[in-house]
C-alpha cells in the first residue's frame, strides 16, 4: 500500500535558522516524490520533485530535499528561514498512477 507520513504537524523556527520538515513514504513502486507549499487561501505551488535522477533535489526559494531509499525518507530542508516561508507544506507521493498527500506540516517563522 502507498502512504505518506509527515512526522510533524507543526514546526516553529526563528527567522534565519535552518528548516527541517520530515516526510516518510511507503510504496510498492518506485515513487515520484514531491513537496508542495500552500500559503493561506492559495492553491498549491510545487517546490521540488524527485523522479530518480538524483537523490538530492534542489527546488525553488532555497529549498532542497534528499531522497533516502534505505530510510524511506524525503525530508525538506532550507538553510535559513525567511518570514515568507510561513505556510503549509505537503509531501506527495505519485506511484502507479495514484497520488497520495501527507497530512501537511504547518511552518511558523518567528521574527
Amino acid at each position: 500500500a502507498q502512504s505518506v507520513t509527515q512526522l510533524d504537524s507543526h514546526v516553529s523556527v526563528s527567522e534565519g535558522t535552518p528548516v527541517l520538515l520530515r516526510c516518510n513514504y511507503s510504496s510498492s513502486y518506485s515513487p515520484s516524490l514531491f513537496w508542495y507549499v500552500q500559503h493561506p487561501n492559495k492553491g498549491l505551488q510545487l517546490l521540488l520533485k524527485y523522479t530518480s535522477a538524483a537523490t538530492l533535489v534542489k527546488g525553488i526559494n532555497g529549498f532542497e530535499a534528499e531522497f533516502k531509499k534505505s530510510e524511506t525518507s524525503f525530508h525538506l530542508t532550507k538553510p535559513s528561514a525567511h518570514m515568507s516561508d510561513a505556510a503549509e507544506y505537503f509531501c506527495v507521493s505519485l506511484g502507479g498512477f495514484k497520488t497520495i498527500f501527507g497530512a501537511g506540516t504547518r511552518l511558523f517563522v518567528k521574527a
Binding site: 492553491g43 520533485k49 523522479t51 505519485l94 497520488t99 498527500f101
Partner: protein, 117 residues
C-alpha cells in the same frame, strides 16, 4: 502561458443542492485530477480524467461525478450537497505522456472554496 484556472473562486450553496465546478488545464496537459481539501487537512484525491473518461477514483461517493471535454477542460459535479462537502476543491493538470515516463508533475489551480449551509 496560462496555468491551471478554476471557476468560480467561491460558492455558497445549501444542503441538498447541486453544484458544478470548472477547471481548465495548463496548456499542453491532457489529464485533470480533482481533490477535496477540508479545512486543516491535506487534499484528498477524488478522481482523474483522461481522454474524456474517468481513469482513477478515490474513496468518494457517487454523488461526486465529473466530465472532461475534448479541449481537456473538466467539470466536477456534486449532487445532494451535505454540510461535510464544504471544502476547497482543487484541480490539477498533468501530462499523461510525462506520467508514463515517470516525469509527471501536477500543477494545481487556485481552487474553488465551496461552503454548504
Amino acid at each position: 502561458d496560462a496555468g491551471v484556472t478554476q471557476s468560480p473562486t467561491h460558492l455558497i450553496k445549501t444542503r441538498g443542492q447541486q453544484v458544478t465546478l470548472r477547471c481548465s488545464p495548463k496548456s499542453g496537459h491532457d489529464t485533470v485530477s480533482w481533490y477535496q481539501q477540508a479545512l486543516g487537512q491535506g487534499p484528498q484525491f477524488i478522481f482523474q480524467y483522461y481522454e474524456e473518461e474517468e481513469r482513477q477514483r478515490g474513496n468518494f461517493p457517487d454523488r461526486f461525478s465529473g466530465h472532461q471535454f475534448p479541449n481537456y477542460s473538466s467539470e466536477l459535479n456534486v449532487n445532494a450537497l451535505l454540510l461535510g462537502d464544504s471544502a476547497l476543491y482543487l484541480c490539477a493538470s498533468s501530462s499523461r505522456r510525462e506520467l508514463l515516463l515517470s516525469t509527471d508533475t501536477q500543477y494545481f489551480g487556485p481552487g474553488t472554496r465551496l461552503t454548504v449551509l
